[in-house]
């Protein structure tokens, strides 16, 4: 990826607009650009290659249908797609829990270790910026936030998983979010951010 992030964001917005107009070639380009990100998120959340692949396919079909709903003012295409992926992923996780499915494996973590740098879809400096900010968190803060974000666990479930008091988990998450405030900036258009 050679474009600077703002230019890339503008390109992505044009691409999604073309998809919204029914351009299947644009959809293929959108797939090529974001498939590695969506696939990584699906694997990270579901930790099962087969289930992740099903979710992955459904998400791209949904992106085709919902591309007209993308609102540039609310953020980048990448974060919009990540939000949809996370939401659908959590739906699957909860459905699986309701069905009493078997415990997750760590397959995703194994396969995630050999990612090809050439597949990286996001600008390197953007990833580095997020990564550096996450490094600033304590391991407990980071673990708690990741469990909430990627596995959709409630604060109580995280407390149970990590065998920590609920109040401690709430503190970790709140302090972690405050720590991340700078990197996880509010997109333009919101009046709530200082």
């Amino acid at each position: 990826v050679t474009s600077t992030p703002p230019a890339q964001h503008a390109e992505d917005a044009l691409l999604i607009a073309a998809v919204a107009s029914g351009d299947q070639a644009a959809m293929a380009r959108l797939y090529d650009r974001f498939a590695p990100l969506v696939n990584a998120l699906c694997l990270r959340m579901l930790r099962d290659r087969h289930a992740a692949e099903e979710l992955f396919e459904d998400i791209f079909v949904e992106l085709w249908r919902r591309s007209g709903q993308y609102d540039k003012a609310r953020g980048s295409v990448a974060t919009w797609i990540a939000t949809i992926t996370r939401s659908r992923g959590i739906d699957r996780i909860r459905a699986r829990q309701r069905a009493g499915a078997v415990a997750m494996t760590d397959e995703a973590e194994q396969v995630a270790g050999d990612a090809d740098p050439a597949e990286q879809v996001l600008a390197a400096d953007e990833r580095r910026r997020v990564n550096e900010s996450l490094q600033a968190l304590t391991p407990d803060q980071r673990r708690a936030i990741e469990l909430a974000y990627f596995e959709g666990l409630s604060h109580s479930e995280i407390a149970t998983r990590l065998a920590r008091p609920l109040g401690t988990i709430k503190t970790h998450i709140r302090q972690g979010l405050i720590q991340l405030r700078e990197v996880m900036r509010i997109p333009s258009g919101s009046a709530s951010e200082p």
Binding site: G22, Q24, M27, A28, Y31, A35, P36, L37, N39, A40, L41, L43, R44, E53, F56, E57, F60, V61, W64, R74, G75, A78, T79, A82, T85, R86, S87, I90, D91, R94, V111, A112, A115, D116, E119, Q120, L122, R127, V130, L134, I145, E146, Y149, F150, G152, S154, H155, I173, R174, L177, I178, R181, M184, I186, P187, G189, S190, A191, S192, P194
Partner: protein, 280 residues
């Protein structure tokens, strides 16, 4: 408020994403566009966590599968609807023309199963209508409550209270009881009972401002009049108040709000503001 609420909304997104959020968002967009925007902003901000995940290409064949599904959907959307009865409307094989008129109907025959199917269909329609009506009613209450909490965002600096209230409002299993006003008559009060999480909330509006040394108290009473839980608070400047309680183990049948002296005995006085009965 702004600094706290930004973190609050992020906490909310972390704790509550999933299929139920569509409904919450729909309600928020109607009742509080600013809240919906903040929620969306928090989601977008947190989505940047995803950028830390190392990209991983899917298996090669998946691309063809996905694009094939999309092409099929796209083609399906452009395909003209199938005619009701094919034979009279097809002039040449494979060519579709709009029907000029319906084919003549065959003589009516006795169909004993038809009555049963029709009755079942009517039942289904009635059930759908009833469910829709209940859903609309529920949404109407939700809109009112969320509008109430929008006011709380503006007037109250307690983001934690807002979070608790939002959590309760959106929780599917919450029971709602409207309390009848006593004095002043314009008071509105709703009791929300979340038995799963052992908590209750009485959301009150249009309360009078009280002098110093006086406060409002919410009581949960057993059938014999014994107090099983209580909590106290003051009204905000806009006349609203939220009284949170941990649900007691003991059964309760009545909820009452009274006006009390801050140093009053732990039993309700005669100065009742609103009350209501709880069915079990």
């Amino acid at each position: 408020v702004s600094d706290d609420s930004a973190i609050l909304f992020r906490e909310y997104v972390l704790d509550a994403a999933g299929e139920g959020d569509g409904a919450l968002r729909a309600v928020l967009e109607k009742a509080c566009p600013d809240c919906a925007q903040k929620l969306s902003a928090a989601e977008q901000a947190l989505a940047e966590l995803a950028l830390d995940v190392r990209p991983r290409a899917p298996r090669a064949h998946v691309r063809a599968t996905v694009l094939g599904r999309i092409a099929a959907q796209s083609q399906g959307a452009q395909t003209p609807p199938r005619p009701i009865a094919a034979a009279p409307m097809m002039s040449t094989p494979g060519a579709w023309r709009a029907p000029q008129s319906l084919p003549p109907s065959s003589p009516r025959r006795s169909r004993p199963w038809l009555a049963a199917v029709s009755a079942a269909a009517v039942c289904v329609v009635v059930m759908i209508a009833a469910t829709t009506w209940m859903s609309v009613q529920h949404e109407r209450h939700m809109v009112a409550l969320i509008a109430h909490y929008d006011g709380a965002i503006q007037h109250d600096d307690s983001a934690i209270q807002l979070r608790q209230a939002m959590d309760m409002v959106r929780h599917a299993g919450v029971e709602r009881v409207t309390l009848a006003p006593v004095a002043p008559a314009q008071v509105t009060a709703q009791l929300l009972v979340d038995r799963q999480h052992h908590r209750a909330l009485i959301a009150v509006a249009n309360l009078a401002k009280l002098p110093a040394q006086r406060c409002y108290v919410a009581w949960l009473l057993a059938a014999d009049g014994q107090v099983v839980a209580s909590t106290r608070c003051s009204a905000r400047s806009d006349g609203s108040a939220d009284l949170f309680m941990t649900l007691p183990e003991a059964d309760f049948t009545t909820a009452v709000i009274t006006e009390e002296a801050t140093a009053a005995l732990p039993v309700p006085s005669e100065r009742v503001v609103a009350s209501g009965s709880i069915r079990h």
